[in-house]
């Protein structure tokens, strides 16, 4: 039996472009047919004639007929995506991968550590956790941006703080513009006396590879086990089903087994970060 074509993108209309920071925009997309997804799953966004790039939607997984994808201007495809305008026709394939293991987090404390545009995939998770907050004992969000002007989704921080069992703390690497908040890399938000029940918690982190490395090391120092740490490793995923060969860490393909991987599974392989 011949199945559908996994390489064909679904026509998707760009509804709106939101300027988030000087280098980050969020595209609001409406695919021709709804695309249900789990927080953490990613999609291939096609810019016609230019190519695809993988992104994890940053919007609420409850909304299948409309996705938001938050994009840092950083390469051949993303540079051009930043020039896209409402009404443009784009393409989507996916969703791919497993997404965050939400069911595992039931009854637990969840520590989210994000850096830079890494807050985008985590926002989908924050929405998912916020959709049923009582299922989780506590959600603690730690976020680091390079500069105050590069803070992503600042308008939502108060809303997150306002959910009963949620807390949100942020820091910037470099203080500017009369910044009065925390200064330092995101691991400075993970002090020795971090108020998290380490025996009953999971850590989920997303950000640049160097940050993921230091967050992992810090969490291990704090007493978390490798099995409690989930890392969003968004590499150059292409096909989406573990065949084209780009995104493997050892036997795991981030595009189909991830992109959010339990550190315990990958810690023994080289070139994880």
């Amino acid at each position: 039996m011949i199945t559908s074509n996994p390489y064909l993108p679904m026509e998707t209309e760009l509804l709106e472009v939101i300027d988030e920071t000087p280098t980050i925009k969020t595209l609001v997309l409406k695919p021709r047919e709804p695309i249900p997804f789990r927080a953490g799953q990613f999609m291939q966004l096609t810019l016609p004639g230019v190519g695809e790039a993988p992104f994890t939607p940053s919007s609420n997984p409850r909304d299948a007929d409309r996705q938001e994808i938050t994009i840092l201007k950083t390469g051949q495809v993303t540079d051009r995506l930043h020039d896209a305008a409402p009404g443009d026709l784009l393409g989507l394939r996916g969703p791919f991968g497993k997404g965050y293991p939400l069911e595992k987090f039931h009854g637990k404390e969840v520590l989210l550590v994000g850096g830079g545009v890494g807050l985008a995939p985590l926002r989908a998770l924050i929405y998912a956790l916020g959709n049923e907050p009582k299922k989780f004992r506590r959600v603690s969000i730690k976020y680091g941006a390079r500069r105050p002007a590069e803070r992503l989704y600042p308008g939502q921080y108060e809303q997150w703080r306002g959910i009963d069992n949620f807390d949100f703390t942020e820091t910037v690497d470099v203080a500017e513009d009369g910044w009065k908040g925390n200064v330092g890399v995101v691991t400075t938000l993970l002090p020795d006396d971090l108020d998290i029940d380490r025996t009953n918690a999971y850590v989920v982190s997303c950000g640049p590879p160097i940050m993921l490395r230091f967050v992992t090391l810090r969490c291990l120092e704090l007493g978390f086990t490798p099995a409690q740490i989930y890392l969003s490793l968004n590499r150059k995923m292409s096909c989406g089903f573990g065949v084209c060969g780009r995104c493997n860490i050892g036997p795991y393909y981030l595009c189909k087994d991830g992109p959010d991987m339990c550190y315990e599974k990958i810690m023994h392989y080289d070139n994880v970060f």
């Binding site: 011949i2 096609t46 190519g51 050892g250």
Partner: protein
């Protein structure tokens, strides 16, 4: 199914081919110093070469072409890229080619997301395999549970003997083809079967001799072993990163997707899928801030190791099969003289 062994006279081979009745008929012929597939359609062809060295290329490219269009978008309402009828018959493939196709079938048909193009071609194909009575000096199928002949799960198989070929079918498709040529076939004689068995044993002996210094890998290569990375690096040292090993490999299946404006319809766009190689430095490079292109495996040594461990360790973990059939074509193609057998020894030591 029950396989009946029959005999086809050498001089009846062209008539047998004629009756296959397909336009896409390819067979192995001699080209200078090597054996290659050529189209046999349209009469006036070179004679088939079924008794010599194995063909220089595997059959991978017939099913997973080096470049193909896999999508046109926005998708036209009616056209389907897989609608084309493209029945294909290949004559001259070896046991290693069949083993490699079984691996590609697992990846492209029985994987998470079947590839409709590959699947279509496989469904429309018939393979006529042949005993590999003169293994090349680089062949090592015997180290990987392979044999230089096929004794099960084939369409039609030929064993060259005096004045012709023993011929048998092992699939419904194959049996239907033989039925069309029933008048050309006679029952096999005991003496012919004895000749076939003798030749097969000689080929096995040749393989045993030329590979005796390379012990067969253990059942689960890599499990609990500590590869000698220094030795691997030394092996990688002669690699010039041309990617030939990956392209010639009958099981390597890394690919690249790229898009461009439609050539015939400027209002549409096309997506192409081409062979790629995980050994190449640019293979997994990503976009990065300030033009910095991070890649998870910046060192050639790491990429070399990744390719080998994928075949011999991770495919075993994921699919319970080894991603190498011992055809040795990578050794023949390598400009740096890398020998996968040497590297393999280091991996499973």
């Amino acid at each position: 199914m029950e396989t009946t062994i029959q005999f086809l006279r050498e001089e009846d081979l062209p008539a047998f081919c004629e009756r296959l009745g397909v336009e896409s008929l390819f067979g192995t012929v001699r080209q200078h110093d090597h054996v290659a597939y050529e189209s046999l359609a349209g009469g006036q062809n070179q004679p088939l070469e079924l008794r010599g060295r194995p063909p220089a290329e595997s059959v991978k490219g017939f099913f997973f072409p080096s470049k193909e269009r896999v999508a046109v978008y926005p998708a036209p309402e009616s056209e389907s890229l897989t609608d084309k009828e493209d029945k294909i018959v290949l004559i001259g493939a070896r046991a290693c080619d069949l083993a490699a196709l079984a691996i590609l079938d697992r990846i492209f048909i029985h994987g998470e997301s079947p590839d409709p193009f590959y699947q279509r071609r496989r469904e429309n194909s018939l393979l006529i395999t042949v005993d590999c009575n003169r293994p090349a000096e680089y062949c090592f199928c015997n180290l990987l549970d392979g044999k230089p002949f096929v004794d099960r799960s084939f369409d039609i198989h030929l064993s060259p003997v005096e004045a012709g070929y023993l011929i048998a079918a092992d699939s419904d498709k194959g049996a239907a083809v033989l039925a069309k040529s029933a008048d050309l076939l006679t029952p096999a004689q005991t003496v012919q079967i004895e000749q076939r068995d003798r030749q097969r044993q000689e080929a096995l002996d040749t393989l045993g001799r030329q590979n005796q210094e390379f012990a067969p890998p253990p059942q689960a290569p890599g499990a609990g072993s500590t590869p000698d990375f220094a030795a691997l690096a030394a092996e990688a040292g002669s690699c010039v990163e041309c990617g030939a090993c990956s392209y010639i490999c009958p099981t390597c299946h890394c690919f690249l997707l790229f898009d461009h404006r439609g050539r015939t319809e400027p209002l549409r766009f096309e997506r192409e899928k081409t062979w790629d190689s995980c050994l190449l430095a640019n293979f997994a490079k990503m976009a990065g801030v300030g033009g910095f292109k991070p890649t998870p495996r910046p060192q050639l040594r790491d990429r070399f190791e990744n390719r080998l461990r994928h075949k011999f360790e991770w495919m075993v973990e994921n699919l319970n099969l080894v991603g190498c059939v011992g055809c040795g074509r990578c050794r023949a193609a390598c400009m740096g003289g890398c020998d996968i057998r040497t590297a393999l020894q280091e991996l499973v030591r």
